[in-house]
């Protein structure tokens, strides 16, 4: 149970930080207009030159292997809903580390996610 909790926490925290890093990297590249394979390849080549992309991918790899570990022990209908806790982590992290002002309505959403995850835990049978 303890081992499983560590894996779930890693999925949530490494996954969320990874996504934020990747988002930052893609924003420095700019909007993709052209969907031909050669242009997509060029976008990918530019993307791998952004350090944020590497950090993001590394974090997402950690989250991925944690996901594999968790899926070997638990049902996917348990593991994936629990990872929604990343919304709580995002709101909390935004406020604590980035000094963002998180609206009351957003906290309401986070609260609902937490209630939902609790129900998923309770419905474990």
């Amino acid at each position: 149970m303890a081992w499983e909790t560590v894996l779930l926490l890693l999925i949530v925290f490494a996954g969320t930080s990874g996504e934020l890093c990747v988002t930052r990297a893609m924003k420095t590249i700019g909007e993709v207009h052209d969907f031909r394979p050669s242009s997509l390849l060029r976008v990918m080549l530019r993307a791998i030159q952004v350090p944020w992309m590497w950090l993001g991918v590394a974090l997402m790899a950690v989250a991925f292997f944690s996901l594999l570990g968790a899926l070997s022990m638990e049902n996917v209908s348990f593991v994936v809903p629990v990872t929604a806790l990343s919304y709580a982590a995002g709101a909390l992290g935004g406020q604590v580390f980035l000094g963002e002002r998180v609206s009351r309505r957003r906290w309401l959403g986070v609260l609902l996610v937490c209630i939902g995850v609790t129900l998923v835990f309770l419905g474990r049978k």
Binding site: E19, L20, V22, T23, M26, K27, I29, G30, E31, V32, F35, L40, V43, A47, F64, L67, L68, G69, L71, S72, M73, N75, V76, S77, F78, V79, V80, P81, A84, Y87, A91, S103, R105, R106, L108, G109, V110, L111, L112, V113, C114, I115, G116, V117, T118, L119, V120, F121, L122, G123, R124, K125
Partner: protein
């Protein structure tokens, strides 16, 4: 929802791909890992053995391929649309995972768990709907 510039057809197509490929990828990984069985690590050799088993599982490869397709759609859409728009649009994926798990993997899902999944979808939707305001 506002009619912001991010709402073109290509945004919807790519979000549809995310909702299609993401949950199917997770379900496929789950199938693969269930075939391998619960991981117990007692020695470094165990890690290697499990690594080899993972690489030999067709379901893991299918799952990785689907998640890669999900990831590429996600990266592309993030190059123009806001994270705070894309993330809530994907909230339905939580329900889709549960549906696939139930119908493809025959996972028993209690009414409490279904309720939890629905509340999570609603919560994720609200979280995203508010974060576009500054």
């Amino acid at each position: 929802m506002t009619s912001s510039a991010g709402l073109h057809l290509k945004t919807f197509v790519l979000i549809f791909f995310m909702i299609l490929f993401g949950p199917l990828g997770n379900v496929s990984l789950s199938k693969g890992m269930k075939t391998i069985g619960a991981i117990s690590l007692h020695s470094p050799g165990d890690l290697l053995r499990i690594g080899v088993q993972i690489l030999q599982s067709p379901f893991i490869w299918l799952g990785v391929l689907l998640l890669l397709m999900f990831f590429v759609s996600y990266l592309l859409v993030l190059s123009w649309a806001d994270y705070s728009f894309v993330q809530p649009a994907g909230s339905i994926a939580y329900a889709v995972v549960a549906l696939w798990a139930h119908f493809l993997l025959k996972e028993p899902i209690s009414p409490t768990r279904w309720a939890g999944v629905c509340v999570i979808c609603l919560g994720v939707l609200i979280v995203g709907h508010t974060s576009e305001q500054k």
